[in-house]
């Protein structure tokens, strides 16, 4: 009987849902909803959810970060220093414990107060192993955090390993009210930000409205609508036609043909080519040849934007640990050919077919980029075959166990933390999850050492690690620090920053 009742209830619910969906459709299908102080933003894809936990994902972060949810503290891009957001000050209590004083008089969108309890709850939820949480998985997978409420407006955060840059890592945590369930991922939750979540018309748009009780300066736009279109051309045209005010991830050619509305910014991604530690790439001459064979200058301004910078390390110069003394490999196809021929003479299997793995839609013009690089590598005497795969498939290939077949990957890395630890541990250390089977005890030692240090010693140690990685081992072919483009409509003022790739601060959008 119960089963039948359950079934019936579900059936009725289902029927109600159908009715509602048609009603929603009927109301919204033939009307357009433009408003005076509304800003429309065209993204590439729909975020899968707006769970605070997934804020580190670019797609989610663009809508969520700094708009709906805020952090305890934030990194100032120009100085690299931490600055207060929902915490007004912080200090070291003992070796592994930090104390945070919270901002007074802040309310969540649901009217509940922001206090020590809510801050503890937010961090605890992110660290909760029962839910999928990108904050934990990206930044805290190697440790646990102990949060204690000191008084109503103060918390202590303790970690179980020595880490002098804990506050920096903690800037990944976002604050949300107790109404977001602890043991469940949510479609969308509230926060303290200048905008609150209003409506999500699945597949169509996400609507935010200005939070009238915001603690900081009130932003300009009353209402912000996010839509998504996969083609750069279409997004650009939307801004040209006035269908959207801001479009992200515009391709270089679209930005060029619409210079009056486009703006470029360094997008924090660094592009490189990496490989499994498999022959022929186990031979240092082959690794050097790959670096010599790529015409970095030729690709710049043709397939990639003229504004891309040659990379000396996998992190941007603004990241702690970047080594400015490393050289950029020149384009020397003759040397590359000679090195390959030399290796071949010594019996290195240079004619072995190497799969060159690219990800569909990885960055604008990725297909052309891949084809061009493939041609350059084959020209040097390698046997490279291009293969485009989807994101998840590529991720699977880049994690152990690694097959015997040699593979090259185009990879992009984005260090939003500002310290090389977020780069070198995962990509360089033999215990890192993206080391692709390359390991080197000395590099491991340098990374382990740097992790324990602060100040100039930490910077120095990271620089040595980059030297080991790129100069002695040649573990990758570093290519460019990329630039991104946005299209900005005539109704608004907006200046993209290094961060625009992972978050769009709506408060920075000024209506003209």
């Amino acid at each position: 009987m119960d089963a039948i009742k359950t079934w019936l209830r579900r059936f009725v619910n289902g029927a109600a849902l159908v009715v509602v969906s048609f009603a929603v459709f009927g109301v919204s299908a033939f009307q357009s909803s433009a408003q005076e102080s509304q800003v429309t933003i065209a993204l590439v894809v729909e975020p899968e959810n707006l769970d605070p936990c997934d804020a580190p994902s670019d797609r989610v972060g663009k809508v969520l970060l700094g708009n709906i949810v805020e952090r305890l503290l934030d990194r100032d891009l120009s100085t690299g220093q931490l600055k207060p957001e929902l915490a007004t000050s912080w200090e070291l209590v003992d070796d592994r414990t930090w104390r945070f004083h919270l901002r007074e008089g802040v309310e969540f969108h649901d009217g509940t107060p922001f206090n020590a309890e809510a801050a503890k709850y937010s961090i605890d939820r992110s660290m909760n192993e029962n839910i999928a949480c990108q904050i934990r998985e990206k930044f805290f997978s190697d440790r646990s955090l102990e949060v204690t409420v000191v008084d109503d407006m103060t918390i202590d955060v303790a970690t179980d390993i020595d880490d002098p840059i804990l506050p920096l890592l903690l800037s990944a945590h976002v604050m949300h009210p107790l109404s977001v369930p602890l043991d469940e991922n949510v479609r969308a939750g509230g926060g303290t930000g200048p905008y609150r979540f209003v409506d999500w018309r699945a597949g169509r748009e996400i609507v935010l409205e200005r939070n009238p009780d915001y603690w900081g300066d009130a932003p300009d736009a009353d209402r912000v609508v996010f839509v998504w279109r996969p083609e750069s051309t279409v997004r650009t045209a939307m801004v040209v036609n006035g269908e959207a005010d801001l479009a992200t991830d515009i391709s270089f050619q679209d930005a060029q043909s619409h210079q009056e509305i486009s703006a470029s910014f360094p997008n924090a991604e660094t592009t490189r080519i990496v490989y499994y530690a498999r022959p022929p790439m186990t031979d240092p001459r082959v690794r050097a040849a790959i670096n010599y064979a790529i015409d970095r200058e030729g690709l710049r301004g043709t397939i990639l934007a003229p504004g891309v910078e040659f990379a000396k390390a996998l992190v941007r110069p603004s990241v702690n640990g970047h080594n400015p003394n490393l050289a950029i490999w020149p384009y020397k196809p003759d040397v590359a050919r000679a090195l390959i021929a030399d290796a071949a003479a010594d019996g290195v299997a240079v004619d072995r077919e190497i799969e060159f793995i690219g990800r569909q839609g990885h960055f604008p013009n990725v297909d052309e980029f891949m084809e061009a690089v493939t041609a350059m590598l084959n020209d040097a005497g390698l046997n490279v075959r291009l293969r485009m795969v989807e994101g998840p498939q590529r991720s699977q290939m880049m994690r152990p166990p690694y097959p015997e077949e040699p593979r090259l990957f185009v990879d992009q890395h984005d260090n939003t933390l500002g310290d090389a630890v977020a780069t070198l541990f995962h990509k360089g250390h033999s215990k890192g999850r993206s080391s692709l089977g390359n390991d080197d005890p000395y590099l491991d030692f340098l990374i382990d050492y740097a992790t324990q240090q602060t100040g100039t010693e930490r910077t120095w140690a990271w620089q040595r690690a980059f030297e080991r990685l790129n100069l002695a081992l040649v573990r990758e072919a570093l290519l460019y620090h990329m630039v991104g483009f946005v299209a900005i409509g005539p109704r608004i003022d907006f200046v993209p920053t290094e961060r625009t790739r992972s978050e769009i601060r709506l408060a920075d959008i000024k209506l003209k």
Binding site: E231, T233, A237, D254, P364, D367, A375, M388
Partner: protein, 311 residues
């Protein structure tokens, strides 16, 4: 035996008559004539072109990136313009013709063979085999082919053989239906009865008596289907689930040009035209063929598959 021989010679005579008849019909239909000529030219280009053009089609020249069409400055190869890597579009269109046509042809042939055999078996043996095969065809038929293809390609991974197999499978039901209906009607005819009475083996009856009779019908369906399969392959490649670079196909070329719509419209326009032209030619030829052939066939094709239940 005598019955069979006279039957076959009647077929041959009929064929000769109809070839003559076709020639007359073809001369009378300017559209069909032009289409056939065009199709022959396109196939000819697809067969011999790549041997001469593949070097040009893959040679990068970033200085000629997105070179505009209709100018002789860069040589005749660039008369239709160049793509984002400065490769001449004429050469790329010619080289892409081969895989595009080859995939469509292989998929049609695979579907025809597999579907024909299954349909023949269903029609001839009846009973359980018939039921199982027809239900299978139902499932395949009733579900949107593009979705089936997308699913399957996701498992197999996008590659040329996978695209051929998947497209072949999705087009199979038509051939199953046609072959089944044909063999059902032929099975009851006098010459089969007499062959059976004369002690001919089942395999022989199917191979010698039935197959030659249903083959022309299947071939006609195949010509009709060719354009559809080509369009399906192009759509799959366009969606990123079909042919992958550095392989070439016209659908993929359209997809590549999508990123340059406003800056270099020619990159996606020409391959789209190539698809349109080829599909249109194939459709016009098969339409003409259909009219020229037995009008019964048209009926069978236009009727819904479910109507094998309807006599």
């Amino acid at each position: 035996m005598a019955d069979k021989r006279s039957h076959l010679s009647a077929r041959v005579r009929g064929l000769r008559v109809s070839i003559n008849h076709f020639r007359v019909l073809l001369a009378g239909d300017a559209f069909a004539f032009v289409s056939l000529a065009l199709l022959v030219i396109i196939i000819g280009i697809a067969v011999i072109g790549p041997a001469y053009m593949s070097d040009f089609a893959t040679a990068l020249d970033l200085s000629l990136r997105n070179a505009p069409p209709f100018t002789d400055e860069n040589g005749w190869l660039f008369w239709l313009g160049a793509d984002a890597l400065g490769r001449p579009l004429i050469a790329r269109l010619i080289v892409a013709a081969q895989p595009t046509l080859l995939i469509a042809t292989s998929a049609v042939i695979a579907a025809m063979l597999a579907g024909g055999i299954l349909g023949l078996a269903a029609g001839y043996f009846g009973g359980l085999a018939d039921n199982v095969i027809m239900r299978m065809a139902d499932v395949l038929m009733s579900f949107p082919s593009l979705l089936l293809a997308i699913f399957a390609l996701y498992v197999l991974g996008p590659s040329i053989p996978a695209v051929v197999i998947v497209l072949g499978i999705t087009r199979m039901p038509i051939y199953i239906r046609v072959a089944r209906a044909e063999s059902l009607s032929i099975r009851e005819q006098l010459f089969i009865e007499s062959a059976r009475a004369a002690g001919a083996r089942r395999r022989r009856i199917i191979g010698v008596h039935i197959t030659p009779l249903i083959l022309p019908t299947l071939l006609t369906v195949a010509t009709l289907d060719f354009a559809n399969v080509m369009l399906a392959e192009s759509a799959l490649s366009f969606l990123g689930l079909g042919i992958q670079p550095p392989e070439l196909s016209w659908g993929l070329m359209v997809a590549a040009g999508r990123d340059y719509l406003t800056s270099a419209w020619w990159v996606s326009l020409w391959p789209g035209f190539a698809i349109l032209l080829t599909a249109l030619s194939a459709n016009l030829v098969s339409n003409w063929l259909r009219i020229a052939m037995d009008p019964r066939l048209r009926w069978r094709l236009e009727r819904r598959w479910g109507d094998s239940d309807v006599e």
